[in-house]
Symmetry: C2
Subunit: 97 residues, 2 copies
């Protein structure tokens, strides 16, 4: 069974700016949001709301991870919204095994 | 550009047991690992290592979330490994916007 997951469209956030900013995330999370390391999550197609909360939680210290605490510290609120909008915009599909 | 992401195979963990256990996750994370709620992440195709750590962190309290703290409390170590293996086994593909 192949299911297409429609990528929800963002309103306020800037997907293009997020895509540019995401260059610094690509080493671990992949240029297309598919992680290159087993301890980093795929971000492609993930919900904007979930992703923005994760980044805010890393920035505030509510969620802890050595790498992400460091990376999130340098992000503005707009960066966070744009990054979340960018990763949400990547369309994914799933195939049940 | 369409990229197929090969689902890595698990060794020790039991994908079938994980799939059965995942019934309790489906309300929020979807029967196929694609979330039904914007504040819940997609789990399909996510790395076993990442997922197992997330569940252990929710269970230990290192990571906090009202719903997940409650759900993870009832999971054994084997449940966690099996669930992580199941969600990793779901093949995903991504299409750059």
């Amino acid at each position: 069974m192949l299911l297409l997951v429609p990528a929800a469209r963002s309103t306020a956030a800037d997907v293009a700016a997020g895509r540019a900013k995401a260059a610094q995330c690509a080493v671990c999370h992949g240029a297309n949001g598919i992680a290159t390391l087993p301890d980093a999550p795929n971000l492609a197609g993930q919900s904007e709301i979930y992703l923005a909360k994760a980044l805010r939680d890393f920035k505030s210290g509510a969620r802890k991870n050595e790498m992400m605490t460091m990376m999130a510290a340098g992000l503005s609120d707009a960066d966070i919204e744009n990054l979340a909008a960018y990763y949400q915009s990547i369309e994914i599909s799933v195939k049940q095994p």
